[in-house]
Each structure stands twice: as structure tokens, then as C-alpha cells.
């Protein structure tokens, strides 16, 4: 028991174990189940926007095809690779702590945060390029290269969906940075790495949303 925690308390409980849980395993399972429930609410949040996309696409497929050409497939693809790689690094960070490798836990977390910043930087240049062309959402749309009814609706959907997704990336950067700082201070061990695990789950969901956003907005 004494090996478990750097700060094991007198009654034999590891420091991370809350009193209302029977043991670490139950605490871990409860946290993880809570995260999955939260992820389902996140999926349904994005689902509302995917429904808006589906309805308008079903009504005006030719408009969506014409408007999607205005998005840069190459940069969208680069961002997809960036997010997939960050998903790998966050998964590897969990594996690192499972096998007790503190050094690679921190390294993988930092890599993930760096990749997340990379994603936002690409997104920044994509957005500013669109604004430069006067491609704004809704009635502010003023691009002369594609003057077609309902194109502004496509860009409303584009900016809202990628915007809310980008906000999730920003939140992920905050959470994973905090986890990285705690990890560098030795807060986690193979016996206790729940925050790394649940933050990782959140980050994978951000990746999954983008896996669908990329083809729907950029490719088809």
C-alpha cells in the first residue's frame, strides 16, 4: 500500500481516493462513466447542428456542392492529420502512465497541446482568408465569386459548426495543459491517472467531431 501514494494518509487510503468510494477502481469507473455521459450530451449538442446541415443539404444539394469548393481541402486535410495525430499522442500519454513512464506522459501531453495549437493556427488562417473574400455567415455574406441563393446558409453552418468545434479545441488546450502541469509535478501514477484518462476521452471526441466535419464541409 505504501508504494501507491506519495502522500498516503494514516488510515491506509491512497491520497487520491475520495471517502465515498469503496476503492480506487470504483472511483475510476464512476469518473469514466460520468465522462461518457458528458460525451453523449456533447454528441447531441453537435447533432443539432448536423441536423441543420442535413436538412439544408437535402433541400439544396447543389448549393452545398458549389459552396464547399470555396473551402481549402488541403488545409482541411492538414488539420485532419493534425487532430488525428493529437488523438494518438493523447492515447499514448495514457499508455505511458499505465506503464509508469512519467517522462513520456508529460511529453505526449505537451505534444498534444502543441498539435491543438497548430490546428487553431490553421483555422485562424482559413477564417481570415474567408473574411478577406467577404465570406461571412448569414446575411453578411458578400462574396461576389459565388452569388447563389442559400450559399449564406452554408457559411452560417460552416462558421457555427467549426466555431463551436474550435471552442472545444480551446477548452481541450486548457484542460490538457493543466493535466500536463500536474503530470510534471508527479500527480499521476499507474494506480491513479483518472484525470488523464477522462481528459483524453474528451479530446478524442473533439477529434471525432472533426472527422465528420471535414468531409461534410470541405469534400462533398
Amino acid at each position: 500500500m505504501s508504494k501507491v501514494g506519495h502522500t498516503a494518509v494514516a488510515d491506509g487510503h491512497p491520497a487520491h481516493l475520495q471517502h465515498h468510494f469503496v476503492n480506487s477502481e470504483q472511483q475510476f469507473d464512476a469518473a469514466k462513466m460520468g465522462m461518457w455521459l458528458f460525451l453523449v450530451t456533447e454528441i447531441l449538442l453537435f447533432c443539432g447542428m448536423f441536423v441543420a446541415y442535413t436538412v439544408y443539404r437535402a433541400w439544396h444539394p447543389e448549393v452545398f456542392q458549389a459552396a464547399s469548393v470555396l473551402l481549402d481541402r488541403v488545409w482541411g486535410g492538414v488539420n485532419t492529420v493534425i487532430l488525428l495525430t493529437s488523438s494518438l499522442t493523447v492515447a499514448l500519454s495514457i499508455r505511458s502512465i499505465q506503464v509508469g513512464n512519467q517522462k513520456w506522459l508529460v511529453r505526449n501531453l505537451i505534444l498534444t497541446v502543441v498539435l491543438a495549437f497548430g490546428f487553431l493556427i490553421v483555422k485562424y488562417f482559413e477564417y481570415t482568408h474567408k473574411f478577406h473574400l467577404h465570406i461571412f455567415p448569414g446575411e453578411n455574406y458578400a462574396y461576389e465569386g459565388l452569388d447563389m441563393m442559400y450559399v449564406p446558409i452554408f457559411f452560417s453552418i460552416y462558421f457555427v459548426m467549426t466555431g463551436i468545434h474550435g471552442f472545444h479545441v480551446l477548452v481541450g488546450i486548457g484542460v490538457l495543459s493543466w493535466i500536463a502541469v500536474r503530470a510534471s509535478r508527479g500527480a499521476f501514477s499507474p494506480e491513479y491517472y483518472t484525470p488523464v484518462e477522462v481528459s483524453g476521452l474528451y479530446w478524442h471526441l473533439v477529434d471525432i467531431i472533426w472527422i465528420f466535419l471535414f468531409p461534410l464541409l470541405y469534400l462533398i
Binding site: V4, M33, I43, A58, V81, Q98, L219
Partner: protein
């Protein structure tokens, strides 16, 4: 001290599985981008969605380790997906068929029959008047 005895049951996925999944995800990304440059007619959209579905499944099963997770988490996630289908499916039941089932005539069938009969009576009387005008025109 049995608090920690059962704490080592977490499945540790081998490194090569992570790298194989990652390789597959990148491969599928390249395929989906390339397929966008080819006109497959009606197949472009289903293909892109199928590839995205496979990629998401890979992430969920291996990166999120749902394959090795507690069944209750599998159930929570599956119910979430079910509600996604309900959400999209039921909205499309409305928006795809809007207008096709709208009532074209106001009122109940009985009221419609009454107004239809009234219309016929009016039409007949107009015909009679028209005939009267025609015949008077001929005689003049």
C-alpha cells in the same frame, strides 16, 4: 489494504495497435480527400460518410478503448448514437416530405362536400345565364 488490490485491471493496449490504428486513420483520410476529386455521381456522399464512420469507430474502439471498457459505457455510448439517429431521422421525416401531406382543402370532408355542391349549383346557374345570353345574342 484490499483497497488497491483490484486496481490493476486496466487493459494496456500494445503500442503496435495504436500505431496500426493511426496508420489506418491517415490512410483513410488520404482516401477520402482523393475521392473528393473524382466524380462518383451519387456515391461521393455515401462514400465520404462511410469512411468517416469507419474512422470514428476506430477512434472510439481503440483510442478511447471502448472495446476493452465496461459494458455500461458501451451502453451509454450506444444509446447516445441511437438518439442521434432518432434526431436526424425524425427531422428528415418532416423536412423531406414537407408539402406532400399538407391539407390542400380547408375543413372536414363533410364541409368540403357541402361547399363542392354549392360550387356546382353556382356553376349550373352560371351556365344557364350564359346560355340565355348566347341565345339572346343569336336572335338579335
Amino acid at each position: 489494504m484490499d483497497h488497491e488490490k483490484d486496481g490493476h485491471g486496466h487493459h494496456i493496449i500494445p503500442l503496435k495497435v495504436y500505431w496500426a490504428v493511426f496508420g489506418m486513420l491517415i490512410f483513410l483520410t488520404v482516401v477520402t480527400v482523393l475521392s473528393a476529386y473524382v466524380d462518383l455521381g451519387g456515391l461521393n456522399v455515401p462514400l465520404a460518410l462511410a469512411i468517416a464512420g469507419v474512422k470514428a469507430t476506430l477512434v472510439v474502439l481503440f483510442f478511447m478503448a471502448l472495446k476493452y471498457d465496461k459494458k455500461v459505457n458501451v451502453m451509454i455510448f450506444s444509446i447516445g448514437l441511437l438518439f442521434v439517429l432518432v434526431f436526424i431521422g425524425f427531422v428528415l421525416l418532416d423536412t423531406l416530405y414537407r408539402g406532400e401531406f399538407d391539407p390542400i382543402l380547408q375543413g372536414t370532408v363533410a364541409e368540403q362536400q357541402v361547399s363542392e355542391r354549392a360550387l356546382e349549383v353556382r356553376r349550373d346557374s352560371i351556365d344557364v345565364l350564359q346560355g340565355a345570353v348566347d341565345t339572346s345574342g343569336v336572335t338579335q
